[in-house]
């Protein structure tokens, strides 16, 4: 389980848009048609490779219900990436995006990479939100956009990995301060020392490095 970086993600969006299913598809590669409501925040992890570097993705899957909003909000902090999900078969989930985005921007650090995901692309017949609309929204707010299907696993992998790539690029550009864990990025145990390519990646306290 060695990794070069650990990225923390958060998945947000209205209830029932398929956040948990996306996570399940990404981590376990399976789809559960009947899924209990998420109560609180769930947790998943998977190791991926970006430019041959092993990167651990730690993903918080939040509850979408309004009632849990206060709890989930506290998880924005310390996330390097966010997947903002809406359901293409439900217009209202798309309409709520602005609220979610405001919430995310407000509670997260400014560098967080946000990817807009239009889920349930397999249900083309019931589509209510056009792909173009999603694209337009993403453009407008400077997000990356993608339509996925947690059921067929279409684009699921890409959604998570593309986000990771973007974060990785930002690290390379020096946008992220990787020493501040509040950014949701952590250097892997054995990479913490002597990795000169990472700006500022030097004096990590050994106590933290081995956790």
């Amino acid at each position: 389980m060695s990794y070069a970086y650990l990225f923390k993600y958060i998945i947000i969006g209205d209830t029932g848009v398929g956040k948990s299913c996306l996570l399940l598809q990404f981590t376990d590669k399976r789809f559960q048609p009947v899924h209990d409501l998420t109560i609180g925040v769930e947790f998943g992890a998977r190791l991926v490779a970006i430019e041959t570097k092993p990167i651990k993705l730690q993903i918080w899957d939040t509850a979408g219900q309004e009632a849990f909003r206060s709890i989930t909000r506290s998880y924005y902090r310390g996330a390097a990436g966010a997947l903002l999900v809406y359901d293409i078969t439900r217009r209202d989930t798309f309409n709520h995006l602005t609220t979610w985005l405001e919430d995310a921007r407000q509670h997260s650090n400014s560098n967080m990479v946000i990817m807009l995901i239009g889920n349930k692309s397999d249900l083309e017949a019931k589509r209510e939100v056009k792909k173009e609309e999603g694209e337009a929204f993403a453009r407008e707010h400077g997000l990356v956009f993608m339509e996925t299907s947690a059921k067929t696993s279409d684009n699921v992998e890409e959604a998570f990995i593309n986000t990771a790539k973007e974060i990785y690029e930002k690290i390379q550009e020096g946008v992220f301060d990787i020493n501040n864990e509040a950014n949701g990025i952590k250097i892997g145990p054995q990479h913490s020392t002597g990795n000169s390519s990472i700006p500022g990646g030097n004096n990590r306290a050994s106590g933290n490095g081995c956790c």
């Binding site: 923390k8 109560i39 609180g40 709890i71 933290n208 956790c211």
Partner: protein, 970 residues
């Protein structure tokens, strides 16, 4: 609203008053200050300084630990040590004591193995220790933590390490070890959660995990692979790992106690909304008295449901021990919560038709696969009765491998469920549990569903995971769609079946051939052998072409082993036996590899060449074939070519060139001539004689004999034959003439030359011999005269010189009859004996030796043996005579003696004795002649022209076996 989203079940039974009020009696009016459990005890401490140990059978041991009060107690989970903190005297620092519960004193009270006064006067709030007894921490009300390291059961004066002050009272602590030998201390305060790495001796770095905190007893450590430190807040339960936040579970209500039992989270909380009877809602939770009505909820975190909930007044603590949970109230009432066994839990779930939950739970609890499958089956049955057939099949598929497939198949046999059945069967195949019947059924399903595409997909995409009986599948497919059967056969290398389908169902012979061509040699040979008859019947030409290719590979491949694997032309000959021309054509394809042909193959080839030759009317073609055969015969060495076989073939087909060739090749000239003569081809016979006569003269005799018996023999040739016979003296003239006389058609003209030369030669011989006779007569006459002279006349010794020194002879001298004279001194010097002439001695000695050895041979026995063995006893006897072997040995010896006694004549000046002595009977010369070995007394002369010719002797030892016409084999 708090547990709105969690499913509710009742998986626990509650047993009120589990202790029959024993505890409340013991405690009496004291107040319980601290509780703990572990290692078979429930530990209850009160403010009177007493500690009560309760065993499983609720026998209580009470001992006084402190004079004043016990503040905190921790029973180690798996060891017999109890750690307590209490006060002996008011206004002094609290004392930490460690008790060994195994060792008891006379009053059967546990022995205190350590007693240490705490270094701080502040009130300790929390206490925790690790099971290995190496780490212990005490939290204080001012936020200090005293960390004790080293064996805590030993009373050592080691100073505790004081960790960083947190400024707030410590509400919870727990040691956790995620990685081996890495210890962390989770600490919670009212407004923060942090972690200390207490592994190293010197520094204990702190990591702040969150800025929220919890109350007393509202934190718990979940040990296990994903170890979490949980804290309960009013809105939710938050989890922390050693390095970061973990998940959170939203559970409302004001939590009082958080506890962990097996895989359950136990939450004791105030019913804020509901409990109208709650008297006070205290913001400070120091006093347990204030809690009046609370509910206990048990959560299954993994499966996300509430497994038990009950409302109990005044819960003081929840203690897991002896496999169940004990709830202790402030009043000392103990209730037991017993978890239902899995089967009854599952029954509950089944009743509610929550099969998926049941499965999940069963899996969590390591349920065995058989039972799991039973759940799947029940689930399937349930869905089936509900009419959700596809869903049912999905469940049934999970039972594959254990559940008898026919159970499922029977349910779906109705044609309307055929789709579900197909899905099931497909899965059955995928898992490799399908039998032949299942394959058949599946294929039938596909054909019934008319989903050829699916069938094809099944066939084509079949990978290693899907296993089915290919042969059966092909059989089934064959009936419905031969194309699929073909594809299947091709995919699975069932070449023989593939060909069979092609041939028997589709009659595509050429295609079949093409297919075979693609196969490996071994496979194609097998297949072709199997179906060669069919091919020959339908597409003979293509078949032959194909066979040619196939067989030539076996030659070109280099290693021609005679195993079945390679294609041998022999294997296919039987196909073409009826059509010689075709066969010849086929075999000629391999002409280049003639040297690799086997004998039988060659024979067959020649045989069929001959058949073709016989049936061929075109003279030109015949000649070509003739040349071909002869070429083959010539080009083959005797090993591969069975000449006798070929000879028989040639004979039966009257194929002259081959017959002649083989006879010549085998040097069976006699047979060849016989053959010629039987064909009345006399000139050829004569030619043959001319050719081979020099080495085998008997051929001439053969021809001659035949000529004598055969009236058709052209007499013109007789002359040559006779000439040869005469020249080589093959036959005695007498025999020849007798034969000639017998012959009816011999004209004198033809034999005149022969006779003339014969008689001429006879005459010459006669004359020559006559001369010889005369000569010998003269010679013997001369010898007789000499003997006479020696006997009767005087001998004059006229020698003037000494034969030894060649000087003038002087007296005294010695004279010998042989006309040698010596000085006496010379003679004495040279001679070995007095009687022998030194000059003649060596010669005479030789002669004498020869005579002696001849005499030694003489032995009657040997002679008789020899006579028996030899065929020409006459010549043997004559030889014996010639060697004088029959003479009386005594006379011979006498003669020898006499000969020796011929003493020399000694002439001295005084005494001259004329030596008148008996001369030896034989002159030395004569003796030489007579005893010459190997000389036959019947021989006329040494240089006789009529020498014995070895060649004429039929018994000669170096007789050439090959010339023997009776030699049975080469």
């Amino acid at each position: 609203m708090s547990f709105l989203e969690w499913r509710r079940f009742n998986f626990f039974d509650i047993n009120h008053n589990a202790d029959s009020k024993k505890i409340s009696q013991i405690i009496g009016n004291s107040k319980i200050t601290s509780t703990s459990s572990g290692n078979g005890y429930l530990v209850i401490c009160d403010d009177d300084g007493l500690v009560h140990l309760i065993t499983r059978t609720f026998q209580v041991t009470t001992f006084r630990a402190y004079q004043s009060a016990v503040l905190l107690a921790t029973q180690l989970q798996y060891s017999n040590f109890l750690v307590t903190i209490g006060i002996d005297e008011p206004d002094s620092n609290a004392i930490l004591k460690v008790w060994d519960l195994e060792r008891r004193d006379r009053q059967s009270n546990p022995i205190c193995v350590r007693s240490t006064k705490l270094s701080k006067s502040e009130k300790p709030t929390t206490l925790c220790a690790t099971d290995n007894r190496l780490l212990m921490a005490v939290g204080f009300v001012d936020g200090c933590i005293a960390l004790y390291k080293g064996d805590l059961s030993r009373d050592r004066n080691s100073k505790p390490k004081m960790l960083k002050e947190l400024g707030q009272e410590i509400t919870g602590m727990a040691f956790s070890s995620v990685i081996k030998n890495q210890w962390y201390l989770f600490v919670s305060t009212a407004s923060s959660v942090q972690q200390f790495n207490v592994t190293s001796k010197d520094s204990c770095p702190m990591t702040i995990l969150d800025a929220v905190g919890c109350d007393f007893k509202c934190s718990v450590l979940v040990n296990g692979p994903d170890s979490h430190f949980m804290i309960a807040k009013e809105d939710a339960i938050y989890c922390y790992t050693v390095d970061s936040r973990g998940p959170c579970y939203v559970v409302g209500g004001k939590k009082i106690i958080l506890q962990w039992f097996r895989s359950y989270l136990i939450i004791v909380s105030k019913e804020v909304e509901k409990s109208s009877n709650t008297v006070t809602v205290s913001t400070t939770t120091k006093n347990f008295d204030e809690i009046e009505s609370v509910s206990i909820t048990i959560l299954d975190i993994q499966n996300k449901f509430i497994v038990f909930t009950v409302t109990i007044r005044e819960i003081l603590s929840v203690l897991p021990e002896w496999g169940s949970l004990y709830i202790l109230t402030t009043g000392g009432n103990l209730s037991q919560l017993i978890e239902k066994d899995l089967q009854s839990k599952l029954t509950v779930l089944f009743k509610k038709n929550l099969y998926d939950v049941a499965v999940r739970m069963a899996k969590c609890q390591q349920y065995d696969s058989q039972a799991l499958i039973d759940i799947f089956r029940q689930y399937g049955d349930h869905l089936y009765t509900k009419g959700d057939h596809s869903g049912a099949v999905e469940q049934y598929i999970k039972t594959i491998g254990k559940l008898e497939p026919s159970y499922v198949i029977k349910k779906f046999l109705d044609s309307q469920y055929i789709e579900s059945l197909t899905t099931y069967l497909h899965a059955l195949h995928k898992s490799g549990n399908a039998t032949k019947d299942h394959t058949t059924l599946l294929f039938n399903c596909y054909s019934k569903l008319n989903s050829v595409d699916k069938l094809q997909e099944f066939i084509i995409t079949k990978d290693e995971n899907i296993d089915f009986d290919v042969d059966v599948a092909i059989q089934v497919c064959r009936q419905s769609s031969p194309e699929n059967a073909l594809k299947l056969a091709e995919k699975h290398d069932r070449h023989s079946l593939y060909i069979k389908i092609l041939l028997e169902d589709r009659y595509e012979y050429t295609a079949a051939l093409e297919y075979i061509e693609k196969l490996s040699t071994e496979q194609s040979v097998q297949t072709v052998k199997q179906y060669s008859n069919v091919f020959m019947e339908n597409v003979p030409k293509e078949t032959v072409t194909f066979l040619k290719k196939l067989c030539s590979t076996s030659y070109t491949s280099g290693n021609v082993d005679l195993s079945d694997s390679s294609a041998q032309p022999e294997d296919f000959i039987y196909l073409l036996l009826d059509d010689s021309e075709c066969l010849v054509d086929f075999l000629e394809h391999f002409e280049n590899y003639l040297d690799k042909w086997s004998t039988s193959l060659l024979n067959i080839y020649i045989e069929h060449c001959l058949i073709v030759w016989k049936n061929e009317s075109n003279q030109e073609k015949r000649t070509t074939i003739e040349n071909k055969i002869i070429n083959i015969l010539q080009s083959h060495d005797i090993k591969t070519c069975d000449y006798y076989q070929v000879l028989i073939l040639a004979m039966s087909f009257d194929f002259k060139p081959a017959i002649v060739y083989i006879f010549e090749h085998n040097k069976q000239y006699t047979k060849l001539i016989h053959y010629y003569l039987s064909l009345s081809d006399y000139s050829a016979a004569i030619d043959c004689c001319r050719k081979y006569g020099p080495t085998e003269p008997m051929l001439w005799i053969l021809v001659f004999n035949t000529a004598m018996g055969d009236e058709m023999f052209p007499s013109s040739m007789l002359e040559e034959i006779l000439n040869e016979i005469e020249k080589k003296s093959l036959l005695s003239a007498h025999f020849t003439i007798t034969s000639l006389i017998k012959s009816k058609n011999v004209k004198i003209g033809h034999i005149r030359a022969y006779l003339t030369s014969l008689f001429g030669a006879e005459k010459k011989t006669f004359e020559k011999e006559k001369e010889m006779v005369n000569k010998y007569q003269k010679d013997s006459e001369n010898i007789k005269n000499t003997i006479q002279k020696l006997k009767n006349c005087a001998i004059v010794f006229q020698g003037l010189r000494c034969s030894a020194c060649n000087n003038q002879l002087e007296l005294p001298s010695v004279h010998f009859m042989c006309q040698h004279s010596y000085h006496q001194h010379c003679f004495q010097a040279f001679s070995e004996s007095d009687n022998d002439c030194p000059a003649c001695t060596p010669n005479n000695k030789k002669i004498m030796d020869v005579i002696r050895t001849q005499g030694q041979i003489k032995d009657d026995e040997a002679l008789h043996n020899q006579l028996k063995q030899t065929t020409d006893s006459f010549s043997l006897i004559s030889e014996y005579f010639g060697r004088c072997l029959f003479d009386d040995p005594s006379t011979f010896e006498n003669q020898l003696a006499k000969f020796k006694l011929s003493s020399p004549v000694l002439l001295s000046p005084k005494l001259v004795v004329p030596a008148v002595q008996t001369p030896p009977k034989l002159s030395p010369i004569l003796a030489v002649r007579t005893i010459k070995p190997s000389t036959n007394p019947f021989d006329e002369d040494d240089d006789d022209q009529m020498r014995y010719d070895d060649n004429k002797n039929p018994f000669k030892t170096d007789y050439d076996e090959t010339k023997n016409p009776f030699a049975d084999d080469m």
